[in-house]
Point group: D3
Chain length 163, copies 6
Amino acid sequence: MENKLTHTDENGQAKMVQVTDKAITRRCAGAEGYILITEDIAHAIRENTLKKGDVFSVARIAGIMAVKKTSDLIPLCHPLMVTGIQVDFALFGAGEKYDVPAIRAVCRVEMEGKTGVEMEALTGVNVSLLTIYDMCKALSKEMVMTDIRLLEKSGGKSGDYHI
Amino acid sequence: MENKLTHTDENGQAKMVQVTDKAITRRCAGAEGYILITEDIAHAIRENTLKKGDVFSVARIAGIMAVKKTSDLIPLCHPLMVTGIQVDFALFGAGEKYDVPAIRAVCRVEMEGKTGVEMEALTGVNVSLLTIYDMCKALSKEMVMTDIRLLEKSGGKSGDYHI
Amino acid sequence: MENKLTHTDENGQAKMVQVTDKAITRRCAGAEGYILITEDIAHAIRENTLKKGDVFSVARIAGIMAVKKTSDLIPLCHPLMVTGIQVDFALFGAGEKYDVPAIRAVCRVEMEGKTGVEMEALTGVNVSLLTIYDMCKALSKEMVMTDIRLLEKSGGKSGDYHI
Amino acid sequence: MENKLTHTDENGQAKMVQVTDKAITRRCAGAEGYILITEDIAHAIRENTLKKGDVFSVARIAGIMAVKKTSDLIPLCHPLMVTGIQVDFALFGAGEKYDVPAIRAVCRVEMEGKTGVEMEALTGVNVSLLTIYDMCKALSKEMVMTDIRLLEKSGGKSGDYHI
Amino acid sequence: MENKLTHTDENGQAKMVQVTDKAITRRCAGAEGYILITEDIAHAIRENTLKKGDVFSVARIAGIMAVKKTSDLIPLCHPLMVTGIQVDFALFGAGEKYDVPAIRAVCRVEMEGKTGVEMEALTGVNVSLLTIYDMCKALSKEMVMTDIRLLEKSGGKSGDYHI
Amino acid sequence: MENKLTHTDENGQAKMVQVTDKAITRRCAGAEGYILITEDIAHAIRENTLKKGDVFSVARIAGIMAVKKTSDLIPLCHPLMVTGIQVDFALFGAGEKYDVPAIRAVCRVEMEGKTGVEMEALTGVNVSLLTIYDMCKALSKEMVMTDIRLLEKSGGKSGDYHI
């Protein structure tokens, strides 16, 4: 197999991949993930959403701020200056997406730069879901974060990617 | 329903829950999660593991450092002084846990304090998995982080919890 | 004058004041501040508040998260583990508090510890106001943050303080 | 009214405004603010200034470092790479600017980039004033941070701004 | 040899050592280090010190703030709430300590807690020296940071330590 | 002497040097440093290195992550977006480099930008050495970090530099 784990050098040691000579291009990435919740939590969020929407507001801000911290969290990520972040949520009833109620988080990130923003989009999704877990865990700890993955990316030499 | 989302006040506004008067007790929490990978990635990690184990080393450090950043990532989490963190990984072949190869991350956290460390353990798992994704994404972007959940917690008024 | 600037030593050099031997007591502090805004901004916030309340939601989260960063921002502040944070806003029409419309931010912080949480409460107010400025500045840059001060503190050897 | 709060989308949800396609231009901003102090504090600072100037030194460093943290503090601010920061202070006696003694903080920031640096300049002023408060609060808590505003900005499509 | 590297488990994997059950005792540590400089730099610092002392002021603040960041920098360090930090400098002429002029940095840290503060004191010294390097490097890059070591520690089961 | 400390203005006050108008060029820097260790520590690291190499793995990640935090640690450093980081270690027996066993850390950083990356490379070395100290200090505290210096830099108006 000729593939290589690009973040390790010939001796298997970690390094931050050199991208100094890469071209600056427009980069976009979108990622999604779900958190499975209980009926009680779905009910409480729905009520709250109708009034103030605060669970999603807090999770949205947490996701946006986490995108900006990506290179501080993921050891070999390059520091980037993202130029756009959007985080959206949708609440699904039992049977719609999963057997139990679920919340979908989607994070889209864009930038002009030398490396992609996939990790930024995925980090936004992960921290948004963690924040939902935190805000709802007094009702039940039986939540599961699941099916977190890249939806699409564009820009860069490796080309576009879509599910 | 009498349950309440504890992080929002009577007007649905976010606040950091007051725990000033809670007793200091010993708190432990463990969480787990999986990342589904391709055969190529499993092979590359296995080879690398036998030699240097670096993918897991980097992901382990990332998880441990993320545990310490939990209250900086999750808006309404209390700052805590954790006193023990352990992150472990296991690589499963196709058919063992899932149809495809998968890596399991487990994070255990402990502390003496006024609030639980569930979010710390879950954050450790999430960032470990994100780091594995980052280190392997040059081989394939078809990885999925999944089934991330609390395994157990002990300490505190709400009692113990086990799956 | 016998008063001393406690953060500088006998040679006028900065140091973090030693509080190792101070007793651990319950500490509370509240601070307030205002941002003067235009009629257009007041109108836009009011409309938005009736619908989603997002300007205040974002500013509230920013204030809460900033409280937790206080010792990272203010060089000689001790690191603390706050156990409760609340941030509230009120919108006043022209003539109510000031000649122009204004938003009042109040931040209350509590903790059991060796030093007070005044700086934490003030930092929460400051960053909340900065966030309101940021979210509204496309409408007008003629906003002024003003009258930011401590409302009250309790706990500690220096005794309670109220305006 | 056609004005819009640019940081919220059509549903009133927060997002980081997309600036990917904006031109890179030279951006400058200056902001100012005051902290009202007591005669005792003014005296102590003056004495200290004559000798070592440390109160202002610490506040200056705090302001400069805070400018670099702006996008970590203000949720919807873009991460930027500022290329120049200057923070200056002036001490006014009672009756000069206000009835009581006051310190003026001015922060100027510059950069080549896609968005303005107003929030950076204002954050520098706010954290400088908070630091002065922290260093002097053992003498009196009757300090007030006030009249914090943008002085000027240049660069960008929205044009220049001066008070 | 029965000694063990305490930060690695039986399989050689990194973990944060569990200190949950350790007693809380008063901990102190002091560390020192030197930066060798040129005559030109020594002269410039001396002149500046006589006037404003700013090189040392900035390095002192940098050292104090770095102490508070230790657990964010050193992967397996426990988060701690230090209760006192002091950073001092002394300038030596050529021939006094080394053949060339040198600056000595000393950092003392104290706390009541479950682990020692040696890493905090050493981190304070390191970042103070780095800051001196940064502020003087326009004059010459032939500076060397050297002889950085622990001076003393007290508290904890392993007993006191003095050079 | 006409040289000036570039980080202080005409009054000796600290500022972040203005580099807005500097050209963007390719910048590289390498730095090195040593930590003197005991025979016991050298033995333990060697054994561990042969098996898992974890001490160096952790120190390498710590160094890489610290490079990305440089402008947050060194008050007057410009925020930069580095595009490549490499950290390497070598273990020397007693008598090879020093009378006692020693570990050499080398950090190389590169970027396209307006200022050099010397401080980034030196910070990477310092934090790598601190991490080695932390991981080995249970065996002996008689370690010394020494001879930390710039090896080379290229790019920028001031020209190249080599030892």
